[in-house]
Symmetry: C2
Subunit: 154 residues, 2 copies
């Protein structure tokens, strides 16, 4: 069944790995940002935490759906469901990129201005979290693109 | 000839208006940011100026191509050229969104921290410039999407 499908579209093992990657990177981003760091005093970092909190359940649910499809051997082919997934993925990918870029802008600014605006230990946590958010964005965009590519053929 | 084409794809008058909108908004963003404002002391704002400086010639050239297609009545249908345009649009759209979000993050931070980090006159200029960059991103993403949608049918 896998041979007929574009690798990376819903119901293939490539899609499952993309979804697992998204879940892992967005969880890592959320944890690096929220554990023991004062993220709530910066709007950009709160935005990042909110979006990562949306990406985690979305990617995890779709990872479960993919796992079921791979094991049972029957991929999802309903255009309506696939369209919903494509739209959801695109919106989350745009929001992930937006939050990651806003955080990156603020971190860069914090590192460059004078004064005690960034404790070094905190700053490296922020940077790690933003890097994870960029990786999560990249995988979301890939998922969205592969599913969009499959859509006209249904 | 227009009836056969998806509105918004290369060679239609909708595409011409999208391109003109991109050129106008990105020029406005560049001018608001670079005239009489100290943008070069902030990395995010320099990034915005760089990207807008890339979007302006790209959109202007494609606006000229569209204008020729509309007047002459012969749209571009070569898949290779269209693919190049789709990739260029996507990359510029992602970079526009990234720079606009980074600037928005920094502006929000400048408005919230204590101390004389943002002269009110400068801050409103930064905000206007970022708003224009967001509009330019939206139109670039629309162009890219419409052309991508046309691509499989060629």
């Amino acid at each position: 069944m896998d041979d007929e499908l574009l690798p990376g579209s819903m119901g293939t093992s490539a899609s499952l790995s993309l979804r697992l990657g998204q879940t892992i990177f967005s969880s890592a981003s959320l944890l690096f940002m929220s554990l023991g760091v004062e993220f709530y005093s910066y709007t950009a970092f709160s935005f990042l935490v909110t979006i990562m909190g949306l990406v985690i359940p979305w990617s995890f649910t779709l990872a479960l759906v993919d796992m079921f499809s791979v094991i049972a051997g029957c991929p999802l082919r309903q255009p309506g469901i696939l369209l919903t997934i494509v739209i959801g993925d695109s919106v989350l990918a745009i929001l992930s990129l937006a939050s990651a870029c806003a955080s990156a802008g603020v971190i860069n600014f914090l590192l460059n201005i004078d004064g005690p605006h960034c404790v070094p230990k905190f700053c490296s946590r922020y940077q790690l979290s933003t890097a994870m958010a960029f990786l999560s964005w990249f995988l979301s965009a890939a998922s969205s693109f592969f599913n969009l590519w499959l859509l006209p053929s249904l």
